[in-house]
């Protein structure tokens, strides 16, 4: 049996079901993003543009988190941090472009949908047609649900009133802990986190908001570029799962 022949209806349903369960699980976190975005001072449209165009959860949380901490003056730091957090999507694209083999408008759409979840579900499938189906279905499911729930969250956030009394700033702190947690699976990752925390603690009182976060990127360079032979395997598991993937898009 060729691996490239069309999927059986059973197999097709299986992949679609997997894609949409991942989509529902991750997409609904958009509620917390929308609420935190308006608490940070963005309007509903700005929050929605981030979910439609930026469309990568970690970067979106980082962008609004830094704006919340430093206001408009921190905008360059917010842009830089969001972009650095998005670099992994470019690396996923190296892999997914091989399995999708798309051109033109479809390539643009595929690139925009290239996030943790679509990549993970796509590359987890053994046969190429299922890889393509898994990627597209997951990407579309997360995109639709993430955007709908962002709108729900920002409307809710606007209706709720004083963000501090509601603990929304603390909810943002918890969100970053939860985004970091699944990535702490190797000693290199733990060492990087400790070093980054130290850099942020030491430089925060001295520098404008947002800048300490950019400086902390040096922790990744220091640990990642240490002499070879002392590193562990990359986080990506052999089973096609993304060990360090965000719990949000």
């Amino acid at each position: 049996m060729s691996l490239d022949e069309p999927l059986s209806p059973t197999r097709r349903r299986e992949v679609v079901r997997q894609a949409w369960s991942v989509g529902v699980a991750s997409g609904t976190y958009g509620i917390s993003f929308g609420a935190l975005a308006v608490a940070a001072g963005l309007d509903i449209w700005q929050a929605q543009v981030l979910s439609l165009v930026m469309f990568t959860g970690g970067s979106q949380f980082a962008f609004v988190g830094i704006i919340a901490a430093g206001g408009l003056a921190a905008a360059p730091a917010a842009i830089a941090t969001a972009t650095m957090l998005g670099i992994r999507n470019g690396l996923y694209g190296l892999q997914t472009s091989q399995l999708l083999r798309v051109t033109g408008v479809r390539r643009l759409a595929a690139a925009q949908l290239t996030i943790d979840e679509s990549t993970a579900v796509g590359i987890a499938q053994p046969e190429p047609p299922a890889q393509r189906l898994g990627f597209w279905q997951t990407g579309i499911a997360v995109f639709v649900l993430w955007n709908l729930s962002t709108l729900a969250g920002s409307l809710l956030g606007n209706a709720l009133g004083d963000p501090r009394a509601l603990g929304l700033d603390a909810a943002a702190a918890a969100a970053f802990v939860a985004l970091l947690w699944p990535r702490l699976k190797s000693r290199d990752a733990a060492a990087t986190a400790v070093l980054a925390i130290a850099i942020a603690l030491l430089t925060s009182p001295l520098l404008p908001a947002g800048v300490p976060v950019i400086l902390a990127a040096a922790a990744a360079l220091m640990i990642g570029l240490r002499h070879p032979g002392r590193h562990e395997e990359p986080l990506e598991g052999g089973d096609g799962s993304l060990g360090g993937a965000d719990p949000v898009p």
Partner: protein, 104 residues
Amino acid sequence: MSLWVAVLIASLLSVAVKLAGYLVPESVMAGERTRRVTTLLPVALLAALVVVQSVTGDAGAIVVDARLAAAGLAIVLLLLRVNFLVIVLAAGALAAILRALGWG
């Protein structure tokens, strides 16, 4: 820079980075050292963001308040494998309660 300009620049850069993965030859980005650094980059940035969000106050001073308690609760709930959205809600609720009681 207005907030709109910042939102648009950051959003378009995100799209550009994603598209680069489809257009740039693999050899440019896939070196062993590059891969290690790019794997660790989100760890460093998110760890620093935890600090900024949980213990820095106005002008960057270190402040211990309800946010740190919420971050601590998040760690406990993560150890218990609780869902992301529940963690965020519980952390917000804890801070709201602490503040209603007059602390943090």
